[in-house]
């Protein structure tokens, strides 16, 4: 396959993920859509490696590391949100405690 097919497919998946991040209210699904976007970038890079830039595949390994870290932290935040508000809704995030006025 030509590099362009991979890059276009990556672009399409990236767009779907981006729409998902903005369109959903469930924090869990927002995290999943972020993962979609990272994977889509991987497809673009693999397209670049078909075009001769083999380091693209190395960058995918780096993206993998970043994605794994991001999920660990993201789910940590999600668990705290659910603990504080009872549901993973980004429109009802816990408010910072108000400063007590003397």
């Amino acid at each position: 396959m030509s590099p362009n097919a991979y890059i276009l497919l990556g672009l399409l998946l990236f767009t779907i993920g981006m729409i998902g991040v903005l369109f959903r209210r469930n924090l869990m699904f927002i995290l999943m859509n972020l993962e979609l976007m990272m994977n889509a970038v991987g497809l673009v890079l693999v397209g670049a490696s078909l075009g001769g830039w083999i380091e693209g595949q190395l960058i995918i390994l780096m993206i993998l590391v970043v994605a794994a870290s991001e999920v660990a932290i993201g789910i940590g935040i999600l668990i705290n949100v659910v603990r504080l508000t009872g549901r993973p809704d980004v429109d009802h995030l816990p408010k910072a405690p108000e400063e007590s006025t003397p």
Partner: protein
């Protein structure tokens, strides 16, 4: 080769659309899994065997399992108003499609020629790059993982007064 590319490309798109529109968390995570597996196979088709199997190992073997376990442990259900159906939601779609069309047009104008034969991402080739020219990013990645481990533990830990 081309047939397989289209087959798994379509599967990846189906998975992505599933994540976008599914409201049930467990099913959403499974669509995510479908997308990851399809992309892993696409890597294999693009002469990237090492990256392809690492993709399946890390994403399918660890990340989606983490999502599923989190969903099951917290007993997450559907959210009654999961979609942003107002003006902002509509604008999201308009902007998304516009973004896709513009970038796709630019890409179609500047096509990248395929080199023949395309380089294969064998473990040996990648290892030489990784421990040669790209050593510093590699070490930085390991520090990032350490930071993520510590951060996750600090986030999840219950403070003593919460437990009682």
């Amino acid at each position: 080769m081309t047939t397989l590319f289209w087959l798994f490309g379509v599967l990846a798109i189906v998975g992505a659309l599933g994540v976008l529109f599914q409201t049930h968390p467990v099913r959403g995570a499974l669509f995510l899994l479908l997308n990851f597996l399809a992309i892993g196979v696409l890597y294999l088709l693009a002469r990237a065997p090492f990256v392809g199997f690492v993709q399946i190992l890390v994403y399918a073997g660890a990340i989606v399992v983490l999502f599923l376990v989190a969903i099951m442990v917290m007993d997450l259900r559907r959210l009654e108003s999961d979609f942003d159906l107002g003006l902002m939601g509509f604008l999201t779609f308009v902007l998304g499609v516009a973004f896709f069309v513009i970038v796709a047009l630019v890409l179609l104008k500047n096509q990248i020629p395929e080199v023949s034969p395309p380089p294969t991402g064998t473990p040996e080739a990648l290892g030489e790059w990784l421990f040669g020219q790209y050593l510093v990013p590699f070490e930085l990645a390991s520090i990032l993982l350490l930071v993520a481990i510590v951060g996750a533990i600090v986030l999840i830990r219950r403070r003593r007064q919460d437990v009682s």
